[in-house]
């Protein structure tokens, strides 16, 4: 039994995967608090799909290197995000509709291109993640992305929270609201990209929403939301990678599924905001 539990740790690539899951989960969990407070899960989820065509173009043009997929996907997400803004400003269409049109079109293009350049096998990795395929270089790339994202978000914590709470009031207090909104979106895209190898672009939004959403049902403290989300994201992701080995299931979906189950537990059993506590509350009130 003990041997079975510890067996995965004997291989260096397994250790690397657990380490990566901790790191990626932590960063995404921290950033997920911003997604939840900004109520922008759908928008960020759309942008995560926009990463795929960027990767496809990058591979087609310069081949797959440590940074080519990162830069390609970053460029594609920014292009589609800003493109949707331009379309909504230049027409009578709202931004969500514009975003949906652009990202599905780009996504379709990405799928076709990836098949054309003959990386069909890798396509599943880009869609659903393959944390076992992680190399040392990828781990370092992720490390620097995480440090940059966490550093930026922590440094701008005060004005960012004011912007999220009430953008107009924040603006009258001298907070550069518009610049911060763009910057936050850019950081969230970078964080999304960091999770590509773990959960792929189809599942990335799960990792970038669920941790803080779960904590949101358990506490009223903003600090707990950020750091609790980070710790939950990190530990749940690492645990899911281990569970993947133990019962032989795919690690990417395992991460998002474990987080989903934890959310469900909080949704039902949270002492203050849980469904059971609520129904007991309303029954007591009658």
């Amino acid at each position: 039994m003990i041997d079975w539990l510890l067996e995965p740790f004997q291989h260096p690539f397994n250790q690397r995967a657990v380490l990566a899951a901790l790191l990626i989960g932590f960063t995404n969990g921290y950033a997920s608090a911003f997604v939840v407070l900004r109520k922008s899960a759908l928008k960020v989820g759309s942008l995560s799909h926009a990463l795929l065509p960027g990767i496809a173009v990058a591979i087609a043009v310069v081949g797959l290197h440590d940074w080519s997929a990162f830069l390609g996907s970053l460029f594609a997400a920014l292009l589609i995000g800003l493109g949707s803004l331009a379309v909504s400003r230049g027409s009578r269409l709202d931004q969500d509709s514009a975003l949906a049109i652009l990202y599905t079109a780009a996504f379709s293009g990405g799928i076709i291109l990836l098949r054309r350049i003959g990386v069909t096998q890798e396509m599943e990795d880009w869609l659903f993640g393959n944390i076992m395929g992680l190399r040392d270089g990828d781990l370092w790339t992720n490390f620097w992305i995480s440090i940059t994202a966490l550093g930026t978000l922590t440094a701008l914590h005060r004005p960012l929270l004011m912007t999220l709470f009430d953008a107009e009031v924040a603006a009258t207090l001298g907070v550069p609201v518009r610049a911060l909104n763009y910057l936050l979106m850019a950081v969230l895209i970078v964080v999304l990209i960091s999770s590509l190898q773990a959960v792929g672009c189809m599942l990335a939004i799960g990792l970038l929403v669920t941790p803080a959403a779960t904590v949101y049902l358990l506490t009223d403290s903003t600090n707990a939301l950020f750091w609790g989300g980070a710790v939950l994201g990190g530990i749940a992701s690492a645990l899911a990678v281990l569970i993947g080995w133990w019962i032989n299931i795919e690690q990417g979906p395992a991460i998002v599924l474990v987080l989903g189950l934890l959310f469900l537990a909080a949704f039902l059993f949270s002492p203050q905001y849980g469904l059971i506590a609520k129904s007991r509350h309303s029954r007591a009130a009658q």
Binding site: L37, A155, L156, R158, P159, L161, M162, L164, F165, D166, E168, V169, A170, A171, T172, L173, G174, V175, Y216, T219, D220, S221, T222, L225
Partner: protein, 257 residues
């Protein structure tokens, strides 16, 4: 009109005046306001009165620097109001605030010190004192650690007032502060606004309830896309003028509360 010395203004020798000159605001093609002229000073409580869509919120937001001005100008103490000023506080309509945002009463009041503390600097003793003073001033001392979602309407309004006090604002711009409050809270808020005015602030509020205008305000701006009258309540707030303001109808464009 005499200008008694005011506590919140006395660090400056002269009297503080907010001047709106021939103000025009447009939303894309729709003209929301035109030809607005008014001038009010510290120690006055000004009501903006007009039907829905008359541009009351627009005027408040323009003074707060939240909207681009397409004509005319707004002067505070003789200089043009920039994008924002620490001396001008804006209080949004209560229904536009996300009261489920996880933040405490003290957390909101703290935001008022942002102009002084900036992006990173921890709060100084001065900041903490100003925050505490503002909280006590607004009778929120027992509620400092309470979540804002767990407050009554009157308390919520006082939290935003406390934020403006922590900010050390001279001009308070309030959008429909009395809407949705029960009678007791309305009376308490009216008293609070009077107190803030007497201490030397300039309070400007959009207001719906015509029956209470005389009890709360010193001056009135009757507004319906363009100004119909401005002056002391006793002179301007007459049946004839009110009728004219509300009879004019809202000219074109969609309604804006």
């Amino acid at each position: 009109m005499t200008h008694p010395a005011h506590e919140s203004c006395d660090h400056c020798g002269h009297h503080h005046e907010l001047r709106v000159e021939d103000l025009q605001v447009r939303y894309r093609e729709v003209e929301a306001l035109r030809g607005v002229n008014m001038s009010a000073s510290c120690g006055s409580c000004v009501a903006l009165i007009g039907p829905n869509g008359a541009g009351k919120s627009t005027l408040l937001k323009a003074i707060a620097g939240l909207l681009p001005v397409s004509g005319g100008r707004i002067l505070w103490r003789g200089t043009k109001v920039a994008k924002w000023s620490r001396e001008i506080a804006y209080l949004p309509q209560r229904e536009n605030v996300d009261w489920h945002f996880p933040i405490t009463v003290r957390g909101v009041v703290r935001m008022g010190r942002y102009p002084q503390s900036g992006w990173w600097r921890p709060f100084s003793v001065d900041d903490e004192n100003a925050i505490q003073r503002a909280i006590e001033w607004m009778d929120l001392a027992d509620l400092g650690d309470r979540q804002i979602s767990a407050l009554s309407g009157g308390q919520q309004q006082r939290v935003f007032l406390a934020r403006a006090l922590a900010q050390e604002a001279h001009v308070l711009l309030l959008d429909e502060p009395f809407t949705g409050l029960d009678r007791t809270s309305k009376n308490a808020l009216a008293k609070t606004l009077r107190k803030l005015t007497e201490e030397g602030r300039l309070v400007i509020a959009s207001h719906h309830d015509l029956d209470t205008v005389r009890d709360i305000y010193d001056e009135v701006l009757l507004l319906n896309r363009k100004p119909l009258a401005f002056g002391p309540v006793a002179e301007v707030f007459t049946g004839e003028q009110i009728e004219k303001t509300f009879a004019a109808g809202v000219a074109g464009g969609k309604e804006r509360a």
